[in-house]
Protein backbone atom coordinates (compact mmCIF):
# COMPACT_ATOMS: atom_id res chain seq x y z
CA UNK A 1 0.00 0.00 0.00
CA UNK A 2 2.83 2.33 0.84
CA UNK A 3 4.03 1.85 -2.68
CA UNK A 4 2.47 5.17 -3.73
CA UNK A 5 5.51 6.66 -2.00
CA UNK A 6 7.62 6.02 -5.09
CA UNK A 7 5.20 7.79 -7.45
CA UNK A 8 6.65 11.31 -7.03
CA UNK A 9 9.97 9.96 -8.31
CA UNK A 10 8.85 7.38 -10.86
CA UNK A 11 5.95 9.12 -12.59
CA UNK A 12 8.00 12.15 -13.75
CA UNK A 13 10.80 9.90 -14.99
CA UNK A 14 8.49 7.58 -16.94
CA UNK A 15 6.60 10.51 -18.42
CA UNK A 16 9.84 12.22 -19.36
CA UNK A 17 11.06 9.15 -21.22
CA UNK A 18 7.65 8.91 -22.90
CA UNK A 19 7.83 12.57 -23.93
CA UNK A 20 11.17 12.06 -25.67
CA UNK A 21 9.27 10.08 -28.31
CA UNK A 22 6.71 12.87 -28.73
CA UNK A 23 9.26 15.42 -29.85
CA UNK A 24 7.20 16.80 -32.71
CA UNK A 25 3.88 16.89 -30.88
CA UNK A 26 4.39 19.98 -28.79
CA UNK A 27 0.75 20.42 -27.75
CA UNK A 28 0.68 16.85 -26.50
CA UNK A 29 3.98 17.34 -24.64
CA UNK A 30 2.50 20.36 -22.86
CA UNK A 31 -0.66 18.57 -21.84
CA UNK A 32 1.11 15.41 -20.69
CA UNK A 33 3.75 17.22 -18.64
CA UNK A 34 1.18 19.47 -16.94
CA UNK A 35 -1.14 16.58 -16.14
CA UNK A 36 1.81 14.68 -14.69
CA UNK A 37 2.67 17.55 -12.36
CA UNK A 38 -0.93 17.87 -11.20
CA UNK A 39 -1.02 14.12 -10.60
CA UNK A 40 2.18 14.23 -8.52
CA UNK A 41 0.73 17.10 -6.47
CA UNK A 42 -2.40 15.05 -5.79
CA UNK A 43 -0.24 12.08 -4.74
CA UNK A 44 1.63 14.37 -2.33
CA UNK A 45 -1.66 15.53 -0.78
CA UNK A 46 -2.79 11.91 -0.36
CA UNK A 47 0.55 11.03 1.24
CA UNK A 48 0.25 13.97 3.62
CA UNK A 49 -3.14 12.70 4.80
CA UNK A 50 -1.83 9.15 5.10
CA UNK A 51 1.06 10.26 7.32
CA UNK A 52 -1.40 11.96 9.65
CA UNK A 53 -3.31 8.73 10.17
CA UNK A 54 -0.53 6.12 9.95
CA UNK A 55 2.61 7.91 11.04
CA UNK A 56 5.82 7.98 9.03
CA UNK A 57 5.61 5.86 5.89
CA UNK A 58 8.40 3.86 4.32
CA UNK A 59 8.97 1.50 1.41
CA UNK A 60 11.75 -1.05 1.63
CA UNK A 61 12.60 -1.80 -1.96
CA UNK A 62 12.19 -5.52 -2.75
CA UNK A 63 11.41 -6.16 0.87
CA UNK A 64 14.99 -5.82 2.12
CA UNK A 65 14.44 -4.66 5.68
CA UNK A 66 16.62 -1.76 6.83
CA UNK A 67 19.52 -1.38 7.36
CA UNK A 68 20.31 -3.79 4.53
CA UNK A 69 18.25 -2.50 1.64
CA UNK A 70 17.57 0.94 0.25
CA UNK A 71 14.34 2.64 1.10
CA UNK A 72 12.10 5.65 0.76
CA UNK A 73 10.84 7.37 3.89
CA UNK A 74 8.11 10.00 3.97
CA UNK A 75 7.53 12.18 6.99
CA UNK A 76 5.50 15.39 6.98
CA UNK A 77 8.60 17.51 6.34
CA UNK A 78 9.61 15.74 3.15
CA UNK A 79 6.08 15.38 1.79
CA UNK A 80 5.30 19.06 2.39
CA UNK A 81 8.36 19.92 0.33
CA UNK A 82 7.39 17.43 -2.38
CA UNK A 83 3.96 19.03 -2.53
CA UNK A 84 5.33 22.57 -2.77
CA UNK A 85 7.91 21.55 -5.38
CA UNK A 86 5.31 19.83 -7.54
CA UNK A 87 2.83 22.70 -7.39
CA UNK A 88 5.50 25.29 -8.18
CA UNK A 89 6.76 23.20 -11.10
CA UNK A 90 3.23 22.82 -12.47
CA UNK A 91 2.75 26.60 -12.38
CA UNK A 92 6.18 27.28 -13.88
CA UNK A 93 5.25 24.90 -16.69
CA UNK A 94 2.13 27.01 -17.33
CA UNK A 95 4.40 30.03 -17.66
CA UNK A 96 6.78 28.24 -19.99
CA UNK A 97 3.93 27.12 -22.31
CA UNK A 98 3.37 30.76 -23.11
CA UNK A 99 6.94 32.00 -23.21
CA UNK A 100 9.60 29.37 -23.76
CA UNK A 101 9.34 29.18 -27.53
CA UNK A 102 9.36 26.30 -30.00
CA UNK A 103 13.13 26.00 -30.13
CA UNK A 104 13.33 24.98 -26.48
CA UNK A 105 10.22 22.84 -26.68
CA UNK A 106 11.66 20.83 -29.53
CA UNK A 107 14.95 20.37 -27.66
CA UNK A 108 13.28 18.29 -24.93
CA UNK A 109 12.63 21.12 -22.49
CA UNK A 110 9.70 19.40 -20.78
CA UNK A 111 11.47 16.04 -20.27
CA UNK A 112 14.35 17.85 -18.59
CA UNK A 113 12.03 19.77 -16.29
CA UNK A 114 10.44 16.46 -15.31
CA UNK A 115 13.85 14.87 -14.69
CA UNK A 116 14.76 17.86 -12.53
CA UNK A 117 11.62 17.42 -10.49
CA UNK A 118 12.20 13.66 -10.21
CA UNK A 119 15.64 14.33 -8.75
CA UNK A 120 14.25 16.92 -6.35
CA UNK A 121 11.42 14.66 -5.15
CA UNK A 122 13.78 11.71 -4.85
CA UNK A 123 16.14 13.74 -2.68
CA UNK A 124 13.26 14.69 -0.40
CA UNK A 125 11.98 11.15 -0.04
CA UNK A 126 15.03 8.94 0.16
CA UNK A 127 16.02 7.43 3.48
CA UNK A 128 19.48 6.39 2.39
CA UNK A 129 22.31 8.85 2.16
CA UNK A 130 23.92 7.33 -0.92
CA UNK A 131 20.61 7.56 -2.73
CA UNK A 132 20.52 11.18 -1.70
CA UNK A 133 23.76 11.58 -3.66
CA UNK A 134 22.27 9.78 -6.65
CA UNK A 135 19.10 11.90 -6.63
CA UNK A 136 21.22 15.03 -6.29
CA UNK A 137 23.07 14.00 -9.44
CA UNK A 138 19.83 13.30 -11.33
CA UNK A 139 18.66 16.77 -10.42
CA UNK A 140 22.02 18.40 -11.20
CA UNK A 141 22.39 16.76 -14.61
CA UNK A 142 18.96 18.05 -15.60
CA UNK A 143 19.86 21.49 -14.30
CA UNK A 144 23.14 21.53 -16.27
CA UNK A 145 21.18 20.93 -19.45
CA UNK A 146 18.53 23.50 -18.58
CA UNK A 147 21.19 26.19 -18.05
CA UNK A 148 22.99 25.40 -21.30
CA UNK A 149 19.83 24.89 -23.40
CA UNK A 150 19.65 27.71 -25.92
CA UNK A 151 23.38 27.69 -26.50
CA UNK A 152 24.14 31.39 -26.17
CA UNK A 153 27.70 32.38 -25.41
CA UNK A 154 27.04 33.57 -21.87
CA UNK A 155 24.87 30.55 -21.12
CA UNK A 156 27.60 28.13 -22.14
CA UNK A 157 30.14 29.99 -20.04
CA UNK A 158 27.99 30.05 -16.92
CA UNK A 159 26.94 26.44 -17.48
CA UNK A 160 30.57 25.34 -17.62
CA UNK A 161 31.36 27.15 -14.37
CA UNK A 162 28.25 25.75 -12.72
CA UNK A 163 29.04 22.19 -13.82
CA UNK A 164 32.64 22.35 -12.65
CA UNK A 165 31.70 23.77 -9.25
CA UNK A 166 29.07 21.10 -8.80
CA UNK A 167 31.44 18.32 -9.89
CA UNK A 168 33.86 19.39 -7.18
CA UNK A 169 30.99 19.65 -4.66
CA UNK A 170 29.79 16.17 -5.58
CA UNK A 171 33.33 14.92 -5.15
CA UNK A 172 33.38 16.34 -1.63
CA UNK A 173 30.03 14.66 -1.00
CA UNK A 174 31.57 11.32 -1.98
CA UNK A 175 34.59 11.93 0.25
CA UNK A 176 32.26 12.68 3.16
CA UNK A 177 30.27 9.53 2.34
CA UNK A 178 33.45 7.44 2.25
CA UNK A 179 34.56 8.65 5.67
CA UNK A 180 31.06 8.21 7.05
CA UNK A 181 30.86 4.67 5.75
CA UNK A 182 34.33 3.94 7.07
CA UNK A 183 33.32 5.15 10.52
CA UNK A 184 29.78 3.87 11.05
CA UNK A 185 29.59 1.13 8.37
CA UNK A 186 26.06 1.97 7.27
CA UNK A 187 24.34 4.31 4.82
CA UNK A 188 20.74 4.20 6.02
CA UNK A 189 20.10 7.63 7.55
CA UNK A 190 18.11 6.31 10.50
CA UNK A 191 20.70 3.62 11.15
CA UNK A 192 23.50 6.18 10.98
CA UNK A 193 21.61 8.27 13.53
CA UNK A 194 21.28 5.25 15.79
CA UNK A 195 24.94 4.31 15.50
CA UNK A 196 26.04 7.89 16.11
CA UNK A 197 23.80 8.08 19.16
CA UNK A 198 25.18 4.79 20.52
CA UNK A 199 28.83 5.63 19.94
CA UNK A 200 28.53 9.30 20.85
CA UNK A 201 29.57 11.97 18.41
CA UNK A 202 33.35 11.94 18.73
CA UNK A 203 35.70 14.28 16.93
CA UNK A 204 35.91 12.04 13.85
CA UNK A 205 32.14 12.10 13.37
CA UNK A 206 32.03 15.82 13.98
CA UNK A 207 34.61 16.26 11.23
CA UNK A 208 32.47 14.18 8.90
CA UNK A 209 29.49 16.33 9.90
CA UNK A 210 31.41 19.49 9.02
CA UNK A 211 32.39 17.97 5.67
CA UNK A 212 28.70 17.38 4.98
CA UNK A 213 28.02 20.93 6.09
CA UNK A 214 30.46 22.26 3.47
CA UNK A 215 28.98 20.08 0.72
CA UNK A 216 25.37 20.99 1.41
CA UNK A 217 26.30 24.62 1.99
CA UNK A 218 27.70 24.69 -1.53
CA UNK A 219 24.50 23.16 -2.89
CA UNK A 220 22.21 25.36 -0.82
CA UNK A 221 24.06 28.60 -1.43
CA UNK A 222 24.82 28.98 2.27
CA UNK A 223 27.81 31.32 2.42
CA UNK A 224 29.47 29.46 -0.49
CA UNK A 225 27.11 31.07 -3.01
CA UNK A 226 29.64 32.66 -5.38
CA UNK A 227 28.32 30.53 -8.27
CA UNK A 228 24.68 31.38 -7.71
CA UNK A 229 24.05 34.89 -9.11
CA UNK A 230 25.79 34.06 -12.40
CA UNK A 231 24.14 30.77 -13.15
CA UNK A 232 20.69 31.92 -12.00
CA UNK A 233 20.58 34.86 -14.38
CA UNK A 234 21.42 33.28 -17.75
CA UNK A 235 18.71 30.67 -18.49
CA UNK A 236 15.16 31.53 -19.67
CA UNK A 237 12.81 32.97 -17.07
CA UNK A 238 10.83 29.80 -16.43
CA UNK A 239 14.05 27.89 -15.72
CA UNK A 240 15.34 30.66 -13.45
CA UNK A 241 12.15 30.48 -11.43
CA UNK A 242 12.39 26.69 -11.14
CA UNK A 243 16.01 26.93 -9.99
CA UNK A 244 15.25 29.66 -7.47
CA UNK A 245 12.33 27.66 -6.12
CA UNK A 246 13.86 24.18 -6.05
CA UNK A 247 17.62 23.79 -6.27
CA UNK A 248 18.84 25.55 -3.15
CA UNK A 249 15.91 24.10 -1.20
CA UNK A 250 17.19 20.58 -1.73
CA UNK A 251 20.49 21.57 -0.16
CA UNK A 252 18.60 23.14 2.73
CA UNK A 253 16.56 19.96 3.15
CA UNK A 254 19.77 17.90 3.27
CA UNK A 255 21.22 20.24 5.90
CA UNK A 256 18.08 19.83 8.03
CA UNK A 257 18.25 16.06 7.76
CA UNK A 258 21.97 15.94 8.52
CA UNK A 259 21.88 18.18 11.55
CA UNK A 260 18.60 17.16 13.12
CA UNK A 261 18.72 13.43 12.45
CA UNK A 262 22.26 12.21 11.93
CA UNK A 263 24.60 14.56 13.78
CA UNK A 264 22.58 16.43 16.42
CA UNK A 265 24.82 15.54 19.35
CA UNK A 266 27.54 18.11 19.15
CA UNK A 267 25.60 21.37 18.66
CA UNK A 268 28.32 23.44 20.33
CA UNK A 269 30.47 22.93 17.27
CA UNK A 270 28.17 22.20 14.34
CA UNK A 271 25.21 24.42 15.15
CA UNK A 272 27.51 27.29 16.09
CA UNK A 273 29.21 27.05 12.70
CA UNK A 274 25.77 26.86 11.08
CA UNK A 275 24.67 29.98 12.94
CA UNK A 276 27.79 31.89 11.94
CA UNK A 277 27.41 30.79 8.32
CA UNK A 278 23.72 31.75 8.30
CA UNK A 279 24.55 35.18 9.72
CA UNK A 280 27.35 35.73 7.19
CA UNK A 281 25.03 34.59 4.38
CA UNK A 282 22.38 37.09 5.40
CA UNK A 283 24.94 39.91 5.62
CA UNK A 284 26.54 39.09 2.27
CA UNK A 285 23.15 38.61 0.62
CA UNK A 286 21.98 41.99 1.92
CA UNK A 287 25.08 43.70 0.59
CA UNK A 288 24.60 42.09 -2.79
CA UNK A 289 20.91 43.02 -2.89
CA UNK A 290 21.68 46.62 -1.97
CA UNK A 291 24.52 47.08 -4.43
CA UNK A 292 22.86 45.36 -7.41
CA UNK A 293 21.79 47.54 -10.32
CA UNK A 294 20.50 44.68 -12.41
CA UNK A 295 17.02 43.40 -11.44
CA UNK A 296 18.12 39.78 -11.87
CA UNK A 297 21.12 40.27 -9.59
CA UNK A 298 18.88 41.77 -6.92
CA UNK A 299 16.51 38.83 -7.19
CA UNK A 300 19.39 36.30 -6.99
CA UNK A 301 20.73 37.91 -3.83
CA UNK A 302 17.24 37.72 -2.38
CA UNK A 303 17.44 33.95 -2.82
CA UNK A 304 20.65 34.01 -0.76
CA UNK A 305 19.06 36.07 2.01
CA UNK A 306 16.19 33.57 2.11
CA UNK A 307 18.63 30.66 2.50
CA UNK A 308 20.39 32.41 5.37
CA UNK A 309 17.10 33.13 7.10
CA UNK A 310 15.84 29.55 6.90
CA UNK A 311 19.11 28.25 8.31
CA UNK A 312 18.80 30.63 11.24
CA UNK A 313 15.84 28.41 12.11
CA UNK A 314 18.03 25.29 11.95
CA UNK A 315 20.88 26.87 13.90
CA UNK A 316 18.47 27.90 16.65
CA UNK A 317 16.93 24.45 16.69
CA UNK A 318 13.92 24.80 19.00
CA UNK A 319 10.59 23.33 17.98
CA UNK A 320 8.96 26.64 17.13
CA UNK A 321 12.01 27.69 15.11
CA UNK A 322 11.75 24.42 13.16
CA UNK A 323 8.05 25.00 12.51
CA UNK A 324 8.94 28.51 11.37
CA UNK A 325 11.65 27.19 9.09
CA UNK A 326 9.24 24.71 7.48
CA UNK A 327 6.64 27.45 6.93
CA UNK A 328 9.30 29.73 5.57
CA UNK A 329 10.64 27.05 3.23
CA UNK A 330 7.18 26.55 1.73
CA UNK A 331 6.70 30.30 1.45
CA UNK A 332 10.13 30.81 -0.04
CA UNK A 333 9.55 28.23 -2.78
CA UNK A 334 6.35 29.87 -4.00
CA UNK A 335 7.39 33.48 -3.47
CA UNK A 336 10.83 33.14 -5.09
CA UNK A 337 9.27 31.41 -8.11
CA UNK A 338 6.82 34.31 -8.51
CA UNK A 339 9.55 36.91 -7.98
CA UNK A 340 11.76 35.39 -10.68
CA UNK A 341 8.84 35.01 -13.11
CA UNK A 342 7.86 38.66 -12.64
CA UNK A 343 11.43 39.92 -12.89
CA UNK A 344 11.96 37.88 -16.04
CA UNK A 345 8.77 39.27 -17.54
CA UNK A 346 9.86 42.81 -16.70
CA UNK A 347 13.06 42.20 -18.62
CA UNK A 348 11.02 40.75 -21.48
CA UNK A 349 8.58 43.65 -21.83
CA UNK A 350 11.14 46.45 -21.48
CA UNK A 351 14.21 44.80 -22.98
CA UNK A 352 16.22 46.35 -20.14
CA UNK A 353 17.88 44.78 -17.12
CA UNK A 354 18.98 47.85 -15.17
CA UNK A 355 16.50 49.19 -12.64
CA UNK A 356 17.01 52.83 -13.58
CA UNK A 357 16.16 52.33 -17.22
CA UNK A 358 12.68 50.98 -16.54
CA UNK A 359 9.91 53.25 -15.49
CA UNK A 360 6.15 53.46 -15.23
CA UNK A 361 5.37 49.83 -15.96
CA UNK A 362 2.28 49.97 -13.76
CA UNK A 363 0.54 52.26 -16.27
CA UNK A 364 0.83 49.68 -19.03
CA UNK A 365 0.38 46.59 -16.90
CA UNK A 366 -1.65 47.40 -13.77
CA UNK A 367 -2.37 43.83 -12.58
CA UNK A 368 1.24 42.83 -13.18
CA UNK A 369 2.45 45.74 -11.06
CA UNK A 370 0.19 44.90 -8.14
CA UNK A 371 1.24 41.25 -8.27
CA UNK A 372 4.82 42.43 -7.85
CA UNK A 373 3.62 44.44 -4.88
CA UNK A 374 2.06 41.30 -3.36
CA UNK A 375 5.23 39.22 -3.72
CA UNK A 376 7.30 42.07 -2.33
CA UNK A 377 5.10 42.25 0.77
CA UNK A 378 5.21 38.47 1.15
CA UNK A 379 9.00 38.37 0.99
CA UNK A 380 9.30 41.21 3.47
CA UNK A 381 6.99 39.31 5.80
CA UNK A 382 3.97 41.57 5.94
CA UNK A 383 0.86 39.84 7.34
CA UNK A 384 -1.37 38.18 6.29
CA UNK A 385 0.90 36.97 3.46
CA UNK A 386 2.94 33.80 3.59
CA UNK A 387 6.28 35.08 4.88
CA UNK A 388 4.89 36.53 8.10
CA UNK A 389 4.21 33.41 10.14
CA UNK A 390 7.55 31.81 9.32
CA UNK A 391 9.39 34.93 10.40
CA UNK A 392 7.43 35.22 13.64
CA UNK A 393 8.01 31.56 14.55
CA UNK A 394 11.72 31.64 13.76
CA UNK A 395 11.97 34.84 15.79
CA UNK A 396 10.12 33.24 18.68
CA UNK A 397 12.50 30.27 18.56
CA UNK A 398 15.51 32.57 18.54
CA UNK A 399 14.18 34.34 21.63
CA UNK A 400 13.64 31.00 23.40
CA UNK A 401 17.20 29.97 22.58
CA UNK A 402 18.49 33.48 23.42
CA UNK A 403 20.29 33.90 20.08
CA UNK A 404 19.64 37.60 19.86
CA UNK A 405 22.29 38.29 17.24
CA UNK A 406 20.69 35.87 14.79
CA UNK A 407 17.29 37.31 15.68
CA UNK A 408 18.46 40.86 15.02
CA UNK A 409 20.16 39.97 11.75
CA UNK A 410 17.17 37.97 10.58
CA UNK A 411 14.74 40.78 11.11
CA UNK A 412 17.13 43.44 9.83
CA UNK A 413 17.36 41.42 6.64
CA UNK A 414 13.57 41.78 6.19
CA UNK A 415 14.03 45.53 6.04
CA UNK A 416 16.79 45.18 3.47
CA UNK A 417 14.66 42.79 1.41
CA UNK A 418 11.81 45.28 1.54
CA UNK A 419 14.13 48.15 0.60
CA UNK A 420 15.82 46.36 -2.30
CA UNK A 421 12.51 45.21 -3.77
CA UNK A 422 10.78 48.51 -3.08
CA UNK A 423 13.56 50.21 -5.02
CA UNK A 424 12.59 48.15 -8.06
CA UNK A 425 8.92 48.86 -7.42
CA UNK A 426 9.32 52.61 -7.15
CA UNK A 427 11.83 53.01 -9.95
CA UNK A 428 10.40 50.57 -12.45
CA UNK A 429 6.68 50.59 -11.84
CA UNK A 430 5.99 54.20 -10.93
CA UNK A 431 6.98 57.39 -12.68
CA UNK A 432 6.74 58.37 -16.33
CA UNK A 433 6.17 55.38 -18.53
CA UNK A 434 8.90 54.61 -21.03
CA UNK A 435 6.64 52.48 -23.17
CA UNK A 436 4.08 54.21 -25.34
CA UNK A 437 0.70 52.62 -25.87
CA UNK A 438 1.55 51.44 -29.37
CA UNK A 439 4.77 49.81 -28.25
CA UNK A 440 3.21 47.92 -25.35
CA UNK A 441 4.07 44.24 -25.69
CA UNK A 442 1.20 42.18 -24.35
CA UNK A 443 2.10 39.80 -21.53
CA UNK A 444 0.95 36.34 -22.68
CA UNK A 445 -2.24 35.20 -21.00
CA UNK A 446 -0.65 31.96 -19.82
CA UNK A 447 2.03 33.95 -18.02
CA UNK A 448 -0.59 36.10 -16.28
CA UNK A 449 -2.45 32.95 -15.21
CA UNK A 450 0.70 31.53 -13.64
CA UNK A 451 1.37 34.80 -11.78
CA UNK A 452 -2.15 34.88 -10.42
CA UNK A 453 -1.97 31.22 -9.36
CA UNK A 454 1.33 31.73 -7.53
CA UNK A 455 0.01 34.89 -5.88
CA UNK A 456 -3.03 32.89 -4.76
CA UNK A 457 -0.67 30.28 -3.27
CA UNK A 458 1.18 33.02 -1.39
CA UNK A 459 -2.02 34.50 0.01
CA UNK A 460 -3.35 31.01 0.70
CA UNK A 461 -0.22 30.02 2.62
CA UNK A 462 -0.63 33.10 4.79
CA UNK A 463 -4.39 33.08 5.31
CA UNK A 464 -4.71 29.30 5.39
CA UNK A 465 -1.82 28.83 7.82
CA UNK A 466 -4.28 27.42 10.34
CA UNK A 467 -5.16 24.54 8.03
CA UNK A 468 -1.53 23.85 7.27
CA UNK A 469 -0.51 24.06 10.91
CA UNK A 470 -1.25 20.38 11.64
CA UNK A 471 1.24 19.20 9.05
CA UNK A 472 3.89 21.80 9.81
CA UNK A 473 3.75 21.10 13.54
CA UNK A 474 4.04 17.39 12.85
CA UNK A 475 7.05 18.05 10.62
CA UNK A 476 8.72 20.22 13.26
CA UNK A 477 7.93 17.71 15.99
CA UNK A 478 9.61 14.92 14.01
CA UNK A 479 12.60 17.12 13.27
CA UNK A 480 13.13 17.98 16.92
CA UNK A 481 12.60 14.39 18.09
CA UNK A 482 14.62 12.27 15.65
CA UNK A 483 13.79 9.13 17.64
CA UNK A 484 10.32 9.13 16.01
CA UNK A 485 11.94 8.91 12.60
CA UNK A 486 14.48 6.29 13.69
CA UNK A 487 11.80 4.11 15.31
CA UNK A 488 9.55 4.33 12.27
CA UNK A 489 12.34 3.23 9.94
CA UNK A 490 14.17 0.62 11.96
CA UNK A 491 11.58 -0.87 14.29
CA UNK A 492 8.47 -0.77 12.13
CA UNK A 493 8.24 -4.53 11.67
CA UNK A 494 8.65 -5.50 15.31
Amino acid sequence: MNNILVLPLIVPIITAIFLVFLRDYIKLQRIVSFVTMVFVSVVAVVLLQLIQTEGILKVDFSGWAPPFGILFVADSFSVLLVLAASIVTAICLLYSFATIGHRHERMFFYPFVLFLLAGVNGSFLTGDIFNLFVCFEVMLLASYVLIALGGEKIQLREALKYVLINVVASWLFLVALAYLYGTVKTLNMAHIAQRVAEAGQDSMLTTVAILFLIVFALKAGLLLFFWLPGSYSVPPTAVQALFAALLTKVGIYALFRTFTLMFPLNPDVTHTILGIMAAATILAGCMGALSGKDVRTIASYNVIIGVGFILVGLAVGTESAMAGAVYYLLHDMTAKALLFLIIGTMVYVTGEVVVKNMSGLIRNYPLFGWLYFVVMCALAGIPPLSGFLGKVLIGQGAIEAESYILLGLGFASSVIVLYSLLRIFLASFFGETVISNEETKPIPRGAMVSFVLLAMCIVGLGVGAEGLAVYVEDAAHTLVNPSIYIDAVLNANE
Binding site: F130, F133, V134, E137, L141, Y144, V145, A148, G151, K153, I154, L156, R157, E158, A159, L160, V163, L164, V167, V168, S170, W171, L174, V175, L177, A178, Y179, Y181, G182, K185, L187, P229, G230, S233, V234, G292, D294, T297
Partner: protein
Amino acid sequence: MESLMVVLVGILVAVATYLILSRTVLRVIIGTAVLSHAVHLLILTVGGLKKGDVPLLSQSDGPYTDALPQALILTAIVISFAVTAFVLVLAYRMYLTNGSDDFHELGGPSDE
Protein backbone atom coordinates in the same frame (compact mmCIF):
# COMPACT_ATOMS: atom_id res chain seq x y z
CA MET B 1 48.01 -2.26 1.50
CA GLU B 2 45.60 0.33 2.86
CA SER B 3 48.36 2.87 3.42
CA LEU B 4 49.58 2.36 -0.13
CA MET B 5 46.07 3.02 -1.43
CA VAL B 6 45.78 6.16 0.65
CA VAL B 7 49.07 7.46 -0.74
CA LEU B 8 47.81 6.71 -4.26
CA VAL B 9 44.59 8.61 -3.53
CA GLY B 10 46.68 11.51 -2.28
CA ILE B 11 48.78 11.55 -5.45
CA LEU B 12 45.67 11.41 -7.65
CA VAL B 13 44.07 14.30 -5.74
CA ALA B 14 47.26 16.33 -6.08
CA VAL B 15 47.41 15.70 -9.83
CA ALA B 16 43.73 16.50 -10.21
CA THR B 17 44.04 19.73 -8.24
CA TYR B 18 46.95 20.79 -10.42
CA LEU B 19 44.96 20.07 -13.56
CA ILE B 20 41.80 21.80 -12.31
CA LEU B 21 43.73 24.97 -11.59
CA SER B 22 45.03 25.23 -15.14
CA ARG B 23 43.71 27.60 -17.79
CA THR B 24 42.61 25.24 -20.51
CA VAL B 25 39.10 23.86 -20.30
CA LEU B 26 40.14 20.40 -21.46
CA ARG B 27 42.77 20.01 -18.75
CA VAL B 28 40.23 21.05 -16.13
CA ILE B 29 37.84 18.36 -17.37
CA ILE B 30 40.58 15.72 -17.25
CA GLY B 31 41.30 16.96 -13.74
CA THR B 32 37.72 16.34 -12.63
CA ALA B 33 37.85 12.84 -14.12
CA VAL B 34 41.04 12.06 -12.17
CA LEU B 35 39.44 13.53 -9.06
CA SER B 36 36.50 11.17 -9.33
CA HIS B 37 38.85 8.20 -9.71
CA ALA B 38 40.61 9.27 -6.54
CA VAL B 39 37.39 9.29 -4.57
CA HIS B 40 36.36 5.89 -5.91
CA LEU B 41 39.60 4.42 -4.62
CA LEU B 42 39.02 6.21 -1.33
CA ILE B 43 35.60 4.59 -0.91
CA LEU B 44 37.12 1.20 -1.68
CA THR B 45 39.86 1.75 0.88
CA VAL B 46 37.77 3.02 3.79
CA GLY B 47 35.23 0.25 3.14
CA GLY B 48 38.01 -2.26 3.81
CA LEU B 49 40.13 -3.99 1.19
CA LYS B 50 39.63 -7.67 0.44
CA LYS B 51 40.24 -9.68 3.56
CA GLY B 52 37.73 -12.52 3.39
CA ASP B 53 35.62 -14.64 1.12
CA VAL B 54 33.02 -13.61 -1.43
CA PRO B 55 29.89 -12.64 0.49
CA LEU B 56 27.76 -15.69 -0.35
CA LEU B 57 26.23 -16.64 2.98
CA SER B 58 26.43 -20.32 4.00
CA GLN B 59 28.81 -21.11 1.13
CA SER B 60 31.85 -20.66 3.32
CA ASP B 61 32.57 -19.99 6.98
CA GLY B 62 33.58 -16.39 6.45
CA PRO B 63 34.85 -13.85 7.22
CA TYR B 64 33.25 -12.17 4.26
CA THR B 65 34.41 -9.16 2.30
CA ASP B 66 32.12 -6.13 2.35
CA ALA B 67 30.55 -5.89 -1.10
CA LEU B 68 28.79 -2.60 -0.55
CA PRO B 69 31.70 -0.24 -1.43
CA GLN B 70 31.88 -1.85 -4.86
CA ALA B 71 28.18 -1.21 -5.44
CA LEU B 72 28.65 2.40 -4.37
CA ILE B 73 31.65 2.87 -6.64
CA LEU B 74 29.80 1.34 -9.56
CA THR B 75 27.03 3.91 -9.17
CA ALA B 76 29.50 6.72 -8.69
CA ILE B 77 31.46 5.68 -11.80
CA VAL B 78 28.32 5.73 -13.92
CA ILE B 79 27.46 9.18 -12.66
CA SER B 80 30.95 10.50 -13.26
CA PHE B 81 30.86 9.02 -16.79
CA ALA B 82 27.65 10.88 -17.49
CA VAL B 83 28.89 14.16 -16.09
CA THR B 84 32.23 13.92 -17.88
CA ALA B 85 30.52 13.13 -21.18
CA PHE B 86 28.16 16.07 -20.73
CA VAL B 87 30.90 18.47 -19.79
CA LEU B 88 33.03 17.42 -22.78
CA VAL B 89 30.14 18.16 -25.12
CA LEU B 90 29.57 21.47 -23.35
CA ALA B 91 33.24 22.37 -23.71
CA TYR B 92 33.15 21.47 -27.40
CA ARG B 93 30.07 23.65 -27.97
CA MET B 94 31.75 26.45 -26.11
CA TYR B 95 34.85 26.06 -28.26
CA LEU B 96 32.70 26.32 -31.38
CA THR B 97 30.88 29.41 -30.09
CA ASN B 98 33.85 31.24 -28.63
CA GLY B 99 36.70 29.92 -30.73
CA SER B 100 38.84 29.39 -27.65
CA ASP B 101 39.25 26.92 -24.86
CA ASP B 102 41.11 29.26 -22.54
CA PHE B 103 39.32 30.36 -19.38
CA HIS B 104 40.97 33.78 -19.42
CA GLU B 105 39.59 34.58 -22.83
CA LEU B 106 36.09 33.59 -21.75
CA GLY B 107 36.56 36.06 -18.92
CA GLY B 108 34.31 38.76 -17.64
CA PRO B 109 32.11 38.97 -14.58
CA SER B 110 28.63 37.55 -14.87
CA ASP B 111 26.91 40.95 -14.86
CA GLU B 112 28.59 42.57 -17.81
